[in-house]
Symmetry: C2
């Protein structure tokens, strides 16, 4: 290749952009056909897809083996990049469960007769074209593909390059299912390279929603670099506030669960707020329970002095705290910095602070939280009411662990993500988050000019059957 | 003032920003108290507000008179800047109608028992702090303020500087009502200057939604300059597609209504699509009806030749079209440019084009439309179904004028705007658009760790009463 034949970096970028734009355009053109399919056809395609995944198992496992080459085996597994027969079984079972769910499309939640023979309906419909960007886990691909099929959406999939062979085979299974059932193959596309992501984020003319599934930094990058609406959350800074009326055993149990059940999860408690009106004994009991569970504590100065005096009456907090129950070095206790109040640790570490009652707890949570999920532990019903009304987050809990914030636990079946947006969809988002609505009017040649001016007709606005 | 005392431009900008940020922060701090109010208290405050407006009429009219000074009287009136007693009556009647509407807060549309004593509810709640930017019309201020009160939201209001005296008095009435009813006065603030808008758009830490009510350029500017979600639309490029199965009298009547009823409105037809399979006679009849109604036509080449031959059989289209029915110069007919397919005329001008059936109509609308409202005129039910499923817009109509896209006509009562977003809220947005929801969980010390691992408890996911 001579120098003049070498594409410049800019023209390479342009090629990528054109290629992704072309795929996005084709997906947008295929979307109306997908939106018009019956639920029977969509279910049949999902079942077909599940059968093909079952039939092509060996190929999937072989591709995953290829992806594992030259990678650290333990990391490949812990990073959830590995696929085995049991994961394929889970995906297939997920497809069947999705088929059993009711059709999310065509549901009517508002129906009025505006006037004789003029009827208005609000009807659920697909969003259109959804771009899904996921990192390592290849089993996300068939899960999301099945959700998109059920909801009648076209999809552009961008998976992790670490598992590109696996993703290619999984995507080939999807294409085969679409083809066999006569649905447009261009309604799903697989993007290959990292530069495809940047191009996808520019395709706001064709792409209606982006769902990033991955690290906070991936989500933040996407949110800051596209005009397309993004469903998801970058951070989960969840709080537990223990009111002075709390059942202290409950408070200890919930706090430990909220921090320790799965510290890497987004619905894990990152900051514990203790009511000033709690006795010092109770405050200390809660902190001790967490510390005994191996949680590193970053405390405001009041709690730090309490810990120093309280724990030192039994043992030195610096060197020996809980050494009788843990053979390993006890977790550290230190003074929190300002930045710790908005830190998502994602590990067995916790910020803790005294607040003056439910009002100060609300102010703290609304200022430093991420709008994900926050809990109050109390027996006082007025405190719970004030907390529920005052905290702005998508989930506000009473006497329960923040860890319940999850689509499956909420009863939504599959989950596409958790949204911390103020506008819907927010909180854990299931199939319902992949549909929107449009207003349908059926008339008989009705003109708006008949409804104003002299001799104007009146609107009836009568409720009618939602069908 | 010495040179050192003069604030630099930057420090002035900073002052504005700090001031607006301070007002936004105070509004956010007041929001929880507002969210906790009963519907009775909110209704009572709206009625109080209406009474104060009634009592302070003279003051409002005097301020409006001051705003009218040194302005062109006709322009002041046509720009809807003038307020008179009848407008105040309308505002007061609007307040009373709003009080009669049901409480938008606390409605539950999802309720499950997750397990014994663990209940999940999805509950409507205020959005939080809403920034409203409106141009000239001062009666928007009390309308929006009453809507915000009913929905429990804090508001930052920025009105047009042309009517700043009027706005100040109207806002003073609102403050008086809040004070009398014991609601936080900082839950509403009036921003004064144009530079306050830029500062408001940066206050994403405190402001949850921006609603711009004004020109397309205002809305576009706002959409491109803030991270805060914006409810509204910059453009209304609405289409009417006449299918070959259309009742031609209906098609003519609806097309004329959709273009001529109120050409400046966002729900006015901007492009007419005619089915290739319509006879030339019918195509010509529809164009002639529009032209006779005074509509300037910009046509694709096929329709242009049709007009030349068709109209020339009776008269010269260039100089004398319809001269027998109109004494004034007939509207122009010319060939459309590419840019005309995405033009919002806002006047008696129309683009028109031949498309090959419903599929090509869908592609055209999805490509050039703005997602506002589009109609098909047809008797064929399959064509209507395909059109409804295929067109991505917020409103898709059958045999009715696009002009029905309006909150009042839909039966929503007051309207805050029309949204062309793909995600909810979309279409005409009423009170419902000023609320969002959060998930409430009530437990009895429930821990997530009990629901996984060995001996895990199961979720029930039983439907329970929505209360």
């Amino acid at each position: 290749m001579t120098a003049t034949e070498l594409p410049s970096e800019t023209s390479q970028e342009n090629n990528v952009e054109n290629n992704v734009m072309q795929l996005a355009r084709q997906a947008a053109l295929a979307a109306p056909a997908l939106a018009s399919t019956s639920v029977e056809k969509r279910n049949q395609t999902i079942l077909q897809f599940a059968e093909i995944l079952d039939r092509r198992r060996a190929e999937i496992l072989e591709a995953n083996g290829k992806d594992a080459l030259n990678k650290d085996a333990a990391e490949f597994k812990s990073g959830r990049m590995a696929i085995d027969n049991s994961k394929i079984d889970t995906v297939i079972a997920g497809c069947k469960a999705l088929v059993a769910m009711r059709d999310p499309l065509g549901a009517i939640d508002y129906a009025k007769e505006l006037d004789k023979d003029l009827r208005l309906y609000r009807v659920t419909c697909p969003i259109g074209v959804i771009g899904i960007i996921f990192e390592a886990r290849p089993d996300v691909l068939p899960q999301i593909a099945a959700l998109a099929l059920k909801s009648g959406n076209a999809i552009l999939l961008k998976g992790g390059q670490e598992v590109e062979h696996t993703n290619k085979v999984l995507f080939a299974c999807l294409q085969e299912a679409l083809k066999l059932e006569g649905l447009p193959e261009s309604s799903a596309a697989l993007l290959a390279s990292r530069s495809d992501v940047a191009a996808l984020l520019k395709a706001d003319q064709y792409v209606d929603l982006i769902i990033p599934r991955g690290s906070n930094s991936l989500v933040s990058y996407i949110q800051s670099n596209t005009k397309i609406p993004v469903l998801g959350h970058a951070e989960g800074i969840c709080h537990v506030f223990v009111h002075h009326s709390a059942d202290i055993e409950q408070a200890m149990a919930v706090a430990v669960d909220a921090k320790c059940d799965y510290p890497e999860a987004c619905n894990t408690m990152e900051t514990l707020l203790l009511d000033k009106a709690l006795t010092e004994e109770k405050q200390l009991a809660i902190l001790t329970a967490l510390h005994k569970a191996g949680v590193e504590l970053r405390l405001d100065s009041a709690l730090m002095s309490l810990c120093n005096s309280g724990l030192s009456s039994k043992q030195s907090p610096d060197s020996q705290a809980n050494s009788q129950t843990h053979s390993q070095t006890p977790a550290a206790i230190s003074v929190a910095e300002e930045a710790d109040w908005s830190r998502e640790y994602g590990s067995l570490c916790l910020s803790a602070k005294i607040v003056d009652g439910v009002d100060e707890a609300i102010v703290h949570i609304n200022q430093y939280g991420s709008g994900h999920t926050d809990a109050i532990i109390c027996q006082d019903n007025q405190a719970w009411l004030n907390f529920f009304n005052g905290v702005k987050s998508a989930g506000v809990y009473h006497n329960a662990s923040t860890r319940f914030a999850d689509g499956f636990r909420y009863g939504f079946g599959a989950e596409v993500g958790i949204s911390t947006s103020k506008l819907p969809p927010r909180g854990p988002v299931g199939l319902e988050g992949l549909v929107t609505y449009k207003y349908k009017i059926e008339g008989a040649g009705h003109k708006a000019s008949d409804y104003h001016g002299a001799g104007a007709k009146s609107f009836r606005h009568t409720d009618i059957e939602k069908k």
